[in-house]
C-alpha cells in the first residue's frame, strides 16, 4: 500500500517536469520575441538565455529527481 502511494506521489512529482517545460518555453519565447525586435542585441544575450533556461530547467529536474526517489528509493 505504501509503495503504491509512493508511485502516485512519483506521478504527481513528475508534473513538475511539465511545469519546468512551460518555464523553459517562456524564457525561450520571450528571448525570441526580444531578439526579433532588436536582432543586433540578440547575439550578446545568448549566454543569458542559456543561464535562464538552465535555472528554469533545474527546478524541473528537481521534481524529476523527487519522482525517481519516490519510485526507486522509497517503499
Amino acid at each position: 500500500m505504501e509503495g503504491e502511494l509512493a508511485h502516485i506521489g512519483a506521478g504527481l512529482a513528475a508534473i513538475g517536469s511539465g511545469a519546468a517545460a512551460i518555464g523553459v518555453g517562456h524564457v525561450a519565447g520571450n528571448f525570441l520575441a526580444g531578439a526579433l525586435r532588436n536582432p543586433s542585441a540578440a547575439a550578446g544575450q545568448t549566454a543569458t538565455l542559456f543561464i535562464g533556461i538552465a535555472f528554469a530547467e533545474a527546478l524541473g529536474i528537481f521534481s524529476f529527481l523527487v519522482a525517481l526517489l519516490l519510485m526507486f528509493a522509497v517503499g
Partner: protein, 252 residues
C-alpha cells in the same frame, strides 16, 4: 518493489536504471575506493579521447589546421571567448581549470551516448564533486581577492535599506544552493535522458505496431540527447564562469 513494477507491466522488462550501476571490472567482491570499476574504465576512455583530440590532433601545429585540429581549436576558442566575455580579462588565468571541466563533461556526456556505455556524469557523486570543486574554488578566490568585501555580494546595495536584510538571507541561501542545483542539473538531465532512451527501447520489445514507433522515438530522443549533452556541458561551464565573475567582481 522494482520487481512488482516489472510484473505490473505485463511481462515487459524495464531496467532503465541498470545502465547506471557501478560494478567491478575484474572479479567479485565489494567496491573499495581504489577498485577498478566501469567508472574507472569510462573515465580513462574519456582521458584517452581528450588526449587524442587535443594532444595528438594538434601535434602538427599546422597553421592551416586539419579537421581534428580545427575541432580542438574551435573548442578552445569557444571556451576562451566564454571565459573572457563573462569574467573579463582577470578571469583568463582560470581558463585551464574551466576548460578541464568543460572538456571532461562534454566528452563524458558524448561517451555516455554510445550504446552499452556508462555515463560517468549521470552520477550525483561525480557531478557533486565537480560542482563543489567549483563552489569552494570560487568562494576561496572571492575571499582571497576581495577579503571581507566579498560579503558585499550578499548585501544588495541597490535595493531599499529595509529590504536588504531579507534579500541578504535570500542571497545567502541561493549562494549555498548553487552547488546543489549545479550538480543535480547535470546529473538529472543525463540520467533522465538515458532512462527515457532505455524506456523507449523497452517498448520496442512489444512488437509489430509499437516497436517501429518506439524505435523512431529512440532516434528522436537520441538526437535530443546529443543536443542536451552539449548544452549541459555549456551550461555547467557558463555557470562556473558566472560564479567566478561574482567572486572576482562581487559588487555587481
Amino acid at each position: 518493489m522494482a520487481d512488482e513494477a516489472h510484473s505490473a507491466e505485463g511481462g515487459l522488462s524495464f531496467h532503465p536504471l541498470d545502465q547506471f550501476e557501478v560494478h567491478r571490472l575484474f572479479g567479485e567482491g565489494p567496491i573499495h575506493w581504489y577498485t577498478i570499476t566501469n567508472v574507472t574504465m569510462w573515465m580513462a576512455i574519456a582521458v584517452v579521447c581528450i588526449v587524442l583530440l587535443l594532444v595528438i590532433g594538434t601535434r602538427k601545429r599546422a597553421v592551416v589546421p586539419s579537421r581534428t585540429q580545427s575541432v580542438a581549436e574551435t573548442l578552445y576558442g569557444f571556451v576562451y571567448t566564454m571565459v573572457e566575455d563573462v569574467t573579463g580579462k582577470d578571469g583568463i588565468k582560470y581558463f585551464p581549470y574551466i576548460f578541464t571541466l568543460f572538456i571532461f563533461i562534454l566528452i563524458s556526456n558524448f561517451l555516455g551516448l554510445l550504446p552499452m556505455s556508462f555515463t560517468t556524469t549521470s552520477h550525483i557523486a561525480v557531478t557533486a564533486i565537480l560542482a563543489f570543486a567549483v563552489f569552494f574554488t570560487v568562494t576561496i578566490i572571492g575571499f582571497v581577492k576581495n577579503g571581507a568585501a566579498f560579503l558585499g555580494l550578499f548585501w544588495v546595495s541597490s535595493a531599499p535599506l529595509a529590504l536588504r536584510p531579507i534579500l541578504a538571507i535570500i542571497e545567502v541561501i541561493s549562494y549555498f544552493v548553487r552547488p546543489v542545483s549545479h550538480s543535480i542539473r547535470l546529473a538529472g538531465n543525463l540520467m533522465a535522458g538515458h532512462a527515457v532512451l532505455k524506456v523507449f527501447a523497452g517498448f520496442a520489445q512489444v512488437g509489430f505496431i509499437i516497436a517501429p514507433v518506439a524505435i523512431l522515438g529512440v532516434v528522436a530522443i537520441y538526437a535530443l540527447e546529443v543536443l542536451v549533452s552539449a548544452i549541459q556541458a555549456y551550461v555547467f561551464t557558463i555557470l562556473t564562469c558566472v560564479y567566478l565573475k561574482d567572486a572576482l567582481h562581487p559588487s555587481h
